[in-house]
Amino acid sequence: MQEVLIIENEYSYVKGAFDFVNEFMMNNSLHYRVISRSQDVPWDDLSNYNYIFVDISLSQRSELDGYGILQRIEKEQLKAKNIIILTANMNIESMLKVRGINNKYKTLIKPIDLNDLYHTFENGNNLK
């Protein structure tokens, strides 16, 4: 079983894709934990998750947005495997640079493509 952390405030719109991939393409090998606010991120246990999906624009109640979460991970050098950015912004790379986020992350552009999501899991630790 692979642990997947999804930080997304509008999960209902992508739930279908995640569930479908898990049930029909990954043989229910994924276990999802969904949170919508940065306050709920298990900062000390990030290394326990095989995949971490970070949406950029989180809910109003969230203290940090997606950029803020990535910044904190980099600043505190937290161990986290396979971070994937969820966003509708096609220009995300330059936005990351502007905010001083230097690492390269795989990005899934919304609306999410089912096959892209599947390949994200299939490639496992070889994500670029």
Binding site: G16, S57, K110, P111, I112
Partner: protein, 558 residues
């Protein structure tokens, strides 16, 4: 005869408008009268007429040479001065060494060409020559004469120093206008050293400038940034209110927490505003002559600087007003951008539904297919819901777009304002105004027209840019009128294919497929929409190979 008459009139008018010239003319006249008096006393009956004619000639020549102040003419002026002095001396038969010394004095001592010290050395030198070479000379009279000369020299030097310092300061204004118009505060760094160089100025450390509005001082700029200031106006208010241009010493002023001991305030009234400058000096400025000199020195400089500040202030105010006007449009763009993100998010279930549907159709395992069917039904419901939300948001943005009448608020302007706008934009694209503008309107009774400034800028920029891209050197515009309208007509002479031009004109004049035309002729539709919003009748037509674009502006009384 006529030309002499006009020369005299010109000289008289110049004298009235130019105080310095008037002063010079009167000075020469007094000298002339004295010279005539001296000649009469000496007795010169035969040559009187010749002398008078010579002196009149001298007078006119010296006035003309002063008016057209050029190097060769000023040399002639010097020669004329020498001749006059020579003539007077000749009547007295006093060609001694002192007289010759005086005669030659203008040659080796020209007040505007040598320094202060050289002037005094010259005067003292002549004094010594007179003392030793003229036997029995009255020392007291000689001393009085030379003392008066020394005083005159001091006065001339003072005036020259003042003029030179004023010129230096005014040159700074010219420089800042060209180089640093947006950063006028930089002028203080350069003017303080000039002020401190003048022989009567105390060491000025800082200058702060304020706008004086409704009895209050508002920060304009300064030689150092002003973070906070305190100015006790209780004693100043009455003085400031009663005196449009005033100087006040030792004002109770505190800047950035530091109390200033030796300061003085100069206030100027310029049209629409009053500007005050506070000078912080290192030593107390109690000498009345110093204060007067400084006031005199700075009055023209600060007056010009104040006008620049006022222009800068108004330009900035206009910029802010423009930004405010643009904010609504920016808000709309922002809202549209956010809506696109929102819609993309909401389309996830739709995209997902089609992907699942495809996999469902490809699936051969019946049990799996059955499970997929349940999920597919659920996803279909999600997709429909998301799709409805996305469409609603899109409709909202689109409806706002169609109701945004950015240019519908029109203002009344003189027609010349519109014409000047056309000229400015026309020339900004490199077209020559002289060869391409034909204006045929009644200029004696110019009327008003209405348009939105930004809308009109958009129309003119779009259209003239189009002419620049596709027109040739015969492109031009005409302005004429009928009873009710001013008519602005652009004639775009292009080398384009006649069919393309016909299609272009047809597209513009068609009113029933704007949304389709917009895809290929977006700029053209922007022109049309802006003119519609401003309610300005317009039409495009073909005249042979030329495209005519006509706008009609309703004439309004002022």
């Amino acid at each position: 005869m006529m030309s002499l008459k006009y020369t005299v009139i010109t000289l008289l008018l110049s004298a009235l408008h130019n105080r310095q010239f008037l002063f010079f003319s009167v000075y020469k006249l007094v000298m002339l009268l004295c010279a005539i008096g001296l000649l009469q006393i000496a007795g010169f009956p035969k040559g009187m007429l010749i002398s008078l004619l010579a002196i009149m000639l001298y007078y006119v020549a010296s006035i003309v040479s002063y008016k057209y102040n050029q190097t060769n003419i000023s040399n002639i002026r010097t020669i004329l001065d020498l001749l006059l002095i020579g003539l007077v001396l000749n009547q007295y038969h006093t060609f001694d060494i002192l007289s010759i010394g005086f005669l030659l004095m203008p040659v080796f001592y020209l007040a505007n060409q040598c320094d202060n010290l050289r002037g005094y050395v010259t005067i003292f030198g002549l004094y010594v020559i007179g003392y030793f070479t003229i036997p029995g000379i009255d020392i007291a009279k000689l001393t009085i004469v030379f003392f008066i000369l020394a005083c005159l020299n001091a006065f001339v030097q003072y005036r020259l120093a003042l003029t030179r310092d004023i010129d230096n300061l005014n040159r700074l204004i010219d420089k800042i206008m060209v180089v640093n118009f947006g950063k006028l505060y930089k002028i203080y760094d350069e003017c303080i050293p000039i002020l401190n160089k003048t022989f009567v100025s105390p060491q000025i450390r800082n200058i702060y400038c304020f706008r004086y509005e409704e009895g209050k001082f508002r920060i304009a700029n300064g030689s150092t940034p002003i973070f906070n200031f305190e100015l006790d106006t209780s004693t100043l208010t009455q003085i400031l209110r009663d005196n449009p241009n005033t100087l006040h010493v030792n004002v109770p002023f505190k800047v950035n927490g530091e109390k200033c001991k030796h300061d003085y305030l100069i206030k100027f009234k310029i049209p629409d505003s009053e500007i005050s400058y506070i000078f912080i000096a290192d030593v107390e400025n109690s000498n009345i002559f110093r204060i007067l000199y400084q006031f005199r020195l700075m009055i023209s400089f600060l007056s010009r600087l104040s006008r620049l500040l006022e222009v800068n202030y108004k330009l900035r105010a206009n910029e802010i007003a423009s930004v405010k006007e643009m904010t609504n449009n920016l808000n709309y763009i922002n809202a549209a951008q956010q809506a696109m993100h929102f819609i993309k998010n909401k389309l996830s279930p739709v995209k997902n539904y089609f992907a699942e549907l495809e996999m469902y159709e490809k699936c051969r395992d019946l049990a799996t297919k059955e499970r997929m069917k349940e999920r597919l039904d659920a996803e279909k419901s999600n997709a429909e819901q998301s799709f409805t939300i996305a469409i609603n948001r899109a409709n909202y943005i689109v409806s706002k777009m169609y109701t945004s009448q950015m240019f519908s608020e029109v203002e009344k302007h003189k027609f010349i304002v519109l014409l000047n706008n056309v000229r400015d934009i026309w020339q900004s694209y490199g077209f020559s105004q002289r060869d391409s503008e034909i204006v045929d309107i009644c200029v004696e009774t110019p009327l008003f027209v209405t348009f939105n400034r930004y809308g009109m800028d958009q129309v003119l920029t779009n259209w003239i840019s189009n002419m620049n891209n596709y027109g040739n050197s015969n492109s031009r515009y005409t302005v004429n009128e009928d009873a009710d309208y001013y008519i602005l007509r652009f004639i775009n002479a292009t080398d384009a294919n006649a069919n393309v031009q016909a299609e272009f004109v047809k597209c513009y004049n068609q009113n029933d497929r704007d949304e389709i035309i917009k895809r290929n002729w977006h700029g053209l539709m922007e022109i049309k929409e802006a003119l519609e919003q401003m309610n300005i009748p317009n039409e495009m037509s073909l005249n042979g190979i030329e495209v005519l674009f006509e706008m009609r502006f309703k004439k309004l009384e002022g």
